[in-house]
């Protein structure tokens, strides 16, 4: 299967809640730092002991999230793993294992920060989404 081009990456990133307020062109800048990663079934991609340093977007396939052997969720196309990892390097208390042949987009935290420092509009938009999410939590 051919590598994803920038348009396909942008379409995949449009499904990420954290990035939902960004314009397609702003997403294209994130797409330019997003690396495509392919994994076979059964590959452990996240472990509780390992700190996360990137956000992962499921482009194709599925990933099972489990804790202590219990399946919590199966992430499918356009689902995101580790959105908070962009801002917090504490490890997630879950294990993520690919179920099928899976293609992910990986956005490394350092690259993301560099991008934010060059694109203040993206920073403002991401902060706006985070604030809205926080406000929602407070209101609940």
């Amino acid at each position: 299967m051919a590598e994803l081009n920038i348009i396909e990456k942008v379409i995949a990133l449009e499904g990420v809640e954290l990035l939902k307020n960004l314009s397609p062109e702003q997403l294209s800048r994130i797409a330019s730092i997003a690396k495509e990663v392919k994994h076979p079934p059964g590959k452990v991609i996240l472990e509780p002991a390992k700190p996360m340093d990137a956000l992962l977007v499921v482009v194709d396939g599925s990933v099972e999230l489990s804790r202590d052997g219990d399946v919590l969720h199966v992430a499918k196309q356009n689902d995101v793993l580790g959105a908070w990892a962009l801002f917090d390097d504490d490890p997630m208390p879950v294990t993520a294992t690919t179920v099928d042949d899976t293609t992910l987009l990986r956005i490394a935290r350092d690259d993301f920060y560099d991008l934010l420092s060059d694109n203040v509009e993206i920073t403002a938009s991401v902060f706006s989404t985070l604030v809205k999410r926080f406000r929602k939590l407070v209101e609940q």
Partner: protein, 908 residues
């Protein structure tokens, strides 16, 4: 047919969804006026046939008094109920009164004719004013500007039908039965009103005058509201003068008519005059002129027409007296009052907040109308009974009042704009500085208490306030607070002691270093000690505690001559080689204070591997302002971690660095990432050279750079308003941006339905939409260079927001403020976004596009993101006609080429 449609639209522009609302609103007003124009000639002819002309001024005064009372009652009703209930109540009351008068006139009593005249005059104001109040709540201000001409025409047609009806039927059905015909028309008007309120999107439930007021609403509250709003005061002034002039002209006309006609002939003359002559003129004015005049001259110009023409016509009547000249004057006055003036006045109300508008409009219309007529009656009594002027000489009185009217209309135009501005600006938060006054003893005691308190930030703030208080002896407090357990309080204490050269804290400062506590307090203590004795500086600079070194530099920065002596080149060279980046940061800072001796060290540290060192070196370069550092500083612009310091440093060079920055900005071989930062530097240099350089780049092909240039120009306009912003370049770029906006819209049109799809065509549609929003932003930024920036920004917020009322007010504001050439370009984009394709075609010759032509143009547009989206969409839609263009795009290196090659495979 196209030109006919265009001609029709130029007069009456009714858009989709407005048809039924406009039709029944027009019918409502027409039927009310129909009823009124039966009653008006009837009541006046009965009165003139029964009484002498000298009784007429008293009738005007009676109307004013009775009208005032009814206005009070009506306002009470309007304030306590919704507009819908108020309309229903007044309609029922009107029908009951008409039937009652029909019965009373049948009894043949003379006083009934006074009562009838009073009641008829109230009828017009109450029901007609209510009709326009309904219209103001049914249409937005933009819709109203287009549609009020049509509604006014309905009202004029109603008046024509009424006058004609009575002239033709008075001999057949008799005078008295005309009252019952009027009652039937009022019932029909109510039916039309009910249809209006049932239209989609119309709700009069919230339109109540006193919704936010207490139950104990007082007459004085309305007067207070008028007292607070200059805009309302001017409206009242104009209405008052309008009716004084109306009364003086009507008096003249009636006197001449009574001399010329008697009995039924007088009734027939008045009916024919009002029904045919007056309304033919009124209709012609309304159909051919009102809409065009309002659009061309705006509110201010429209309101000027009536007083100017009446003053001239009154002078003419004085020289050529008679029933024909007085009828002509009356014709001119009444016709323009119901058309141009009425439309202008209704627009004058629109920028007021809805609550205020509804609460006071009925009151102003009814009471001020009566007051104007009452004053007119008194003026007439004064001139006819006291000064014994003849009716023909009253024309000169009219001319004088018309002059006052002209002045008020000019004022109204200014207030109208001020009110619109105020509404837009009120959407913005206005932050005010809140510093405490510390001149009185009580306040000083309170601040001292805070300075000694447990909240360190408040304590520091309080200390700063006391330090600025004239005559306050600060040192005892400094001695006391030097023992504070909060490091930031102690740091502030040392700073203030150093500034005052107060030596009472030396022991404390030395203890601070011995304790090795918080770095901020240590730094401030070191600065304090060096400030008192510069010899200690070298010790602190060589201290392994970097904070102390910075403290020494703080003190040396305040004494530049000592700094150059204390910091020598040898120490700088040795310390610059220190492996600890914190030490090199200290060296960079010291090099900035060392003058010429530090220049080479700064240059060396600008190339340092550690960004914190480079930032410090940038700051030092900003202090030294040595041209040798400019190249390294511009290179730092591409590094996100060093950029801020590099921008600040370059700005420190001032206008003499503008030439170099201009070269970089214009050099296409320089990386775009660096060039995009140049406007950020220029905006910090408030010099004409900055503006000129930025204006040269205003049309750059890189949207990111263009946006940075515009932002910088906006900032310069704000920080240095005296700089000159070349109009022709701005106007030229406005045209380019408007064309771009229309072209993007034409390209978007074939893909609009795909906007929410998750495929390439949807992505393209969203990208085009975003580009249009950016272009609109650019347009408003350009407008901000020619017009008041704050107001233009408020208008931008309104047009890009969700509130249709705010959007409408913003477009109205732009329509009033922009010059003709700007208005012609900008207003059509905002006023009718649904007709943007037509606007692009008519204004700029941009033809609608098919999906294929749109994609082809985007592929060749030079916009790499849109080209990539277009290539992907072409592949997805299997548009084989684009295969050669896709193949060509596939040769481009980078994302566009990659996407185009994938699309070529899909098309194969």
């Amino acid at each position: 047919m196209h030109w006919l449609r265009a001609l029709w639209r130029s007069f009456f522009d009714v858009r989709e969804g407005e048809g039924l609302r406009t039709l029944f609103m027009g019918l409502y007003l027409m039927l009310v006026l129909f009823a009124y124009y039966i009653l008006k000639p009837l009541s006046r002819s009965l009165f003139l046939n029964k009484f002498d002309i000298d009784k007429l001024p008293y009738l005007y005064i009676l109307i004013a008094v009775a009208g005032g009372l009814l206005a009070y009652v009506y306002t009470k009703v309007a304030l306590h109920f919704s507009l819908q209930v108020a309309v229903t109540s007044s309609m029922v009351l009107t029908v009951v009164c008409l039937v009652g008068l029909w019965w009373l006139i049948g009894l043949g009593q003379a006083w009934v004719l006074y009562a009838f005249n009073i009641w008829v005059s109230l009828f017009s104001v109450m029901l007609v004013s209510q009709g326009w109040l309904v219209a103001a709540n049914v249409f937005t201000s933009r819709e109203a500007k287009r549609l009020y001409g049509l509604l006014g025409m309905g009202a004029v047609a109603g008046a024509a039908f009424g006058g004609t009806f009575i002239a033709q039927t008075v001999s057949r059905i008799g005078s008295r039965n005309q009252l019952l015909a009027s009652a039937a028309l009022v019932v029909l008007a109510y039916v039309a009103f009910l249809v209006v309120v049932r239209q989609k999107g119309v709700s009069l439930v919230a339109a109540r005058g006193a919704e936010a007021e207490t139950e104990e609403f007082q007459f004085k509250d309305i007067l207070l509201a008028i007292g607070r709003h200059k805009h309302l005061q001017v409206i009242i002034g104009i209405i008052t003068v309008t009716f004084i002039v109306d009364v003086t002209i009507e008096y003249q006309f009636n006197a001449m008519a009574k001399l010329a006609y008697k009995g039924d002939k007088l009734t027939a003359f008045l009916g024919t005059f009002y029904g045919i002559y007056l309304n033919l003129i009124t209709l012609a004015l309304q159909f051919f002129l009102t809409g065009v005049v309002v659009r061309r001259l705006g509110v201010g110009g429209t309101l000027q027409i009536m007083p100017v023409t009446l003053s001239l016509a009154s002078v003419a009547t004085f020289f050529i007296p008679g029933v024909t000249s007085s009828a002509s004057l009356r014709l001119l006055e009444a016709a323009s009052r119901y058309t141009l003036n009425r439309t202008g006045m209704e627009l004058l109300y629109l920028p007021l907040p809805a609550e205020l508008r509804n609460r006071t409009k009925a009151f102003v219309d009814i009471f001020v109308d009566r007051m104007g007529r009452g004053l007119g009656g008194m003026v007439l009594i004064f001139f006819t009974a006291v000064l014994a002027l003849k009716p023909t000489q009253i024309a000169l009185v009219t001319a004088v009042f018309s002059l006052a009217w002209m002045a008020l209309s000019r004022r109204a135009s200014r207030e109208y704009l001020a009110t619109v501005r105020g509404r837009l600006a009120s959407r913005r938060l206005d932050l005010t500085e809140a510093r405490v006054s510390c001149d009185d003893p009580q306040t000083v005691a309170l601040i001292e208490q805070t300075a000694a308190g447990e909240n360190p930030r408040q304590a520091v703030y309080a200390l700063s306030l006391l330090a600025e208080t004239t005559g306050y002896e600060l040192t005892p407090l400094l001695e006391k607070l030097a023992a504070s357990r909060h490091a930031e309080v102690r740091a502030r204490v040392y700073e203030l002691a150093r500034a005052r050269a107060f030596d009472g804290l030396i022991a404390r400062a030395k203890e601070e270093h011995a304790a090795a506590g918080d770095s901020s307090a240590e730094q401030a203590a070191a600065a304090y000690l060096v400030g008192l004795s510069v010899e200690s500086a070298k010790t602190f600079l060589n201290s392994p505690n970097i904070a102390r070194g910075h403290g020494a530099l703080d003190a040396l920065a305040a004494q530049p001559s000592l700094a150059a002596e204390t910091i020598n080149a040898e120490w700088l060279r040795a310390a610059a080689a220190d492996p600890d980046p914190r030490k090199r940061v200290l060296v960079a800072r010291a090099a900035g204070l060392a003058g010429g001796a530090g220049a080479s060290i700064v240059q060396q540290l600008l190339e340092d591997a550690d960004s914190s060192v480079v930032r410090a070196a940038c700051a030092a370069a900003g202090v030294l302002r040595n041209r040798a550092h400019v190249f390294s500083l511009t290179r730092c612009l591409t590094n996100a971690r060093q950029r801020g310091a590099a921008i600040a440093a370059l700005a420190e060079f001032g206008p003499r660095v503008c030439g170099t920055l201009s070269d970089i900005l214009a050099d296409e071989t320089v990386p775009a990432a660096m060039r995009r930062q140049i406007p950020r530097v220029l905006k910090l240099i408030p010099d004409q050279r900055s503006v000129d350089i930025l204006l040269q780049a205003i049309d750059h092909s890189d949207p990111g750079l263009r946006r940075a240039v515009l932002k910088a120009l906006n900032r310069l306009r704000e920080s240095a308003p005296k700089l000159s912003f070349e109009d022709s370049r701005i106007a030229g770029q406005m045209q380019v941006e408007v064309r771009r906006y229309c072209e993007l819209n034409a390209a978007l049109d074939p893909f609009r339905s795909s906007k929410n799809s998750g495929e390439a065509a949807g992505l393209l549609a969203r990208s085009l939409d975003e580009r249009m929003a950016q272009t609109l932003d650019h347009l408003f930024r350009l407008l901000g260079l020619r017009y008041p920036q704050q107001e233009i920004y408020s208008a931008y917020r309104a047009v890009s927001g969700r509130s249709s009322e705010a959007h409408s007010a913003a477009v109205e504001f732009l329509d009033s403020v922009l010059e003709r050439d700007m208005k012609r370009l900008v207003v059509p984009l905002l006023d009718a976004p649904e007709r943007l394709l037509d606007t692009g075609r008519n204004l700029l010759g941009i033809q609608p596009k098919t999906a294929e032509t749109a994609l082809r143009e985007l592929l060749h547009s030079g916009d790499s993101w849109l080209a990539a989206c277009a290539a992907a969409a072409a592949g997805e839609m299997k548009l084989r006609g684009l295969a050669p263009d896709i193949t060509e795009a596939g040769r481009i290196v980078g994302d566009v080429g990659e996407v185009a090659r994938a699309a070529a495979v899909a098309l194969a």
